[in-house]
Amino acid sequence: MNPKLADLIKALPEERTTGDRVADSPPRPEQIMEVLVGLTERPTPLGALRRLWALGGLEAYVAFAYLAWWVRGWFMSADARTRRRAETNLRAALKTLKCMVYLRGAVMKAGQLLGSFPDIAPDEFIDTLGHLHFEAPPMHFSLLREQVRNELGRDPEEIFASFETKAFAAASLGQVHLARLRSGERVAVKIQYPGIARTIDSDFRSLNALLLPLRLSKDWQNMKEQFESVWRMLRDETDYELEAASMRAAASHFRAEDGIVVPRVYDEYSTRRILTTEYLDGAHIEAFLATRPSRQVRDRFGAQMYRAAFRLYYGGLNYADPHPGNYIFMPDGRLGLIDFGCVWTFSKEERGVIKDAEATISGDEKIFRELAKRVGRLTDRELRDKERMRLLREAHDWVLEPLRREGVFDFGDQNHLRRGMAAMAQLVLKRYTRTDPMQIYMYRSFFGLRAMLYRLRARVDVRAIHDAECRKLK
């Protein structure tokens, strides 16, 4: 049974009080619902950076509640002393997590932590996923100017022909400003809040120490791997030179006729903390949908999103963070992909797994079980566990459902998304969550992309796109 939101909030450890008012006690379920529903009615406040930042805290509480509920389960049968120690550590870990305001979707990246959504208003929750972010504190212009001077050696007004002092958009670790080069091109300049990288390292080291009691659990090794992969991904996100390299790699996969654009990187105006790219004129999904595009237009963009995902996937890259802010719906019909901070480059072994996984499309049970053993790190005993294999198979079948459909698949089918969430929820509830870290990001990609396509209500011939793109896998 999926946990109710009220149960999750109860699962949060109680705040210790010494008679003083607790400044940030968890919000009541009604408060969370009010905000979530309210957000669906408002346009994304791209300019209201502070509000996004503050609201991100509410998503934190929901995610933390899941974490608390999940972690508590490990200690249900432990003795009182172990439970007390775990409780203390958990409380401290959650407090640390609350302060990690840069955690855009980090708990979501771990996959298991949001494997289930509250059984209260799944539509509102899905619709608002793209609205809620954790972001770095907004930078005022004095700070931003000094950060640019620190990184590029001159003030932004000296470097660019024009530079807008107000942020155009929030980024997970900083913010984006529009500018124009002296050669005339319009660019987007992403500037990172100073010191984030070391803050992440410091926070994760603390968190690592606090979660050590979990090493007694049988899946500790795998949990540790997943935790470290989240840590590594977040740290990599702070390196804009890595992101620039990912963008260049991704851009090499697309031709003009694909109608998919990855912005050009301007290396001479980019560093580890500043990324200057070609500005893509267009709208994010909310603004795009507000123009009431025709079904044909929505379907075409849906197909482009899938084509982009498959092109990169079979080209060796997982575009692992497909959230609404990363897609630009351009007026000329092209789809822009921005934000390559979370890209997983497949190793040779992982490419082998991808190749083998193709056989499971036709339902090959033998290959499926072999992959479950390899990727899921299952023991022979676990492979004989009928319930476990049934749940893994259900989740896998859900992933492949659009691929197995002849003709178009209707991503506006709410039941499809709910089935996926239910399947993942069951895996989390049963703690069948041991997996290769690569798999976490794959599921993140699947869910993220399908949530986007659901919002578009797009119908896409996934099989046809897949057949065209997977030839590159040879």
Partner: protein, 210 residues
């Protein structure tokens, strides 16, 4: 022979430059006033005419940097900046100006600016503190809606600033970006405390009127 003001200024400058070079090379504690005099090509007694102690030299270097920071602040400041932006800019520019002296400054600052060393108004560190805080007061008063400042608020500010200096002196992050974040957070904290005090005062006045 009477020494003209220009000559005096030039000699003072020679001593300060020589001291700065020696402090950088040997550290503040190990550099002696005799060596400073030798490097500046003046008599030891001359050094004492201008600077009675080594602390006085360090204070002069710090004040020079603070003055340069203030000049740069007025040059770089954009119209309409908030108090947070102003204070951030002033403090950060000060750190940039102090940067050449960073590796020896913290030792000097422990003597110069330590609250425990402030035994008299003539103490050189007190002059540094007063100059800096005076500028901060002026920055606050020039805001469109200036926040009311109390002696305690300024004390809070100074404590935060010393914390920033200590953090910066030990900061090994690339381009001192951790210090940049630290300055930002400290300034936000201070400005929020001023705003909180202002709100309490206004609420107090409103209840008295009733």
């Amino acid at each position: 022979m009477r020494v003209t003001k220009d000559v005096q200024a030039a000699t003072r400058e020679k001593i300060l430059r020589a001291a700065a070079e020696l402090f950088k090379k040997k550290g503040w504690q190990r550099a002696s006033t005799r060596e400073i005099a030798c490097r500046a090509k003046v008599a030891s007694g001359t050094v004492f005419n201008y600077f009675p102690t080594k602390e006085a030299i360090a204070a002069a270097l710090v004040n020079e940097a603070m003055q340069a920071a203030e000049d740069e602040f007025h040059f770089r400041r954009k119209a309409g900046q908030t108090l947070e932006e102003d204070l951030f800019l002033f403090i950060w520019l000060g750190l940039r100006q102090l940067a050449p002296y960073r590796n020896f400054l913290i030792t000097a600052l422990e003597t110069l600016l330590s609250p425990l060393a402030r035994s008299s108004p003539e103490h050189h560190g007190e002059a540094v503190r007063l100059l800096h805080v005076d500028t901060v007061e002026r920055i606050i008063s020039q805001q469109k809606t200036p926040q009311a400042l109390s002696h305690l608020s300024l004390q809070v500010y100074w404590t935060l600033y010393l914390g920033v200096l200590a953090f910066w002196a030990a900061d090994d992050s690339p381009k001192h970006e951790d210090t940049m974040a630290m300055v930002d957070h400290s300034v936000r904290l201070f400005v929020a405390s001023l705003a909180g005090a202002q709100r309490k005062r206004s609420a107090g006045k409103r209840s008295v009127k009733r």
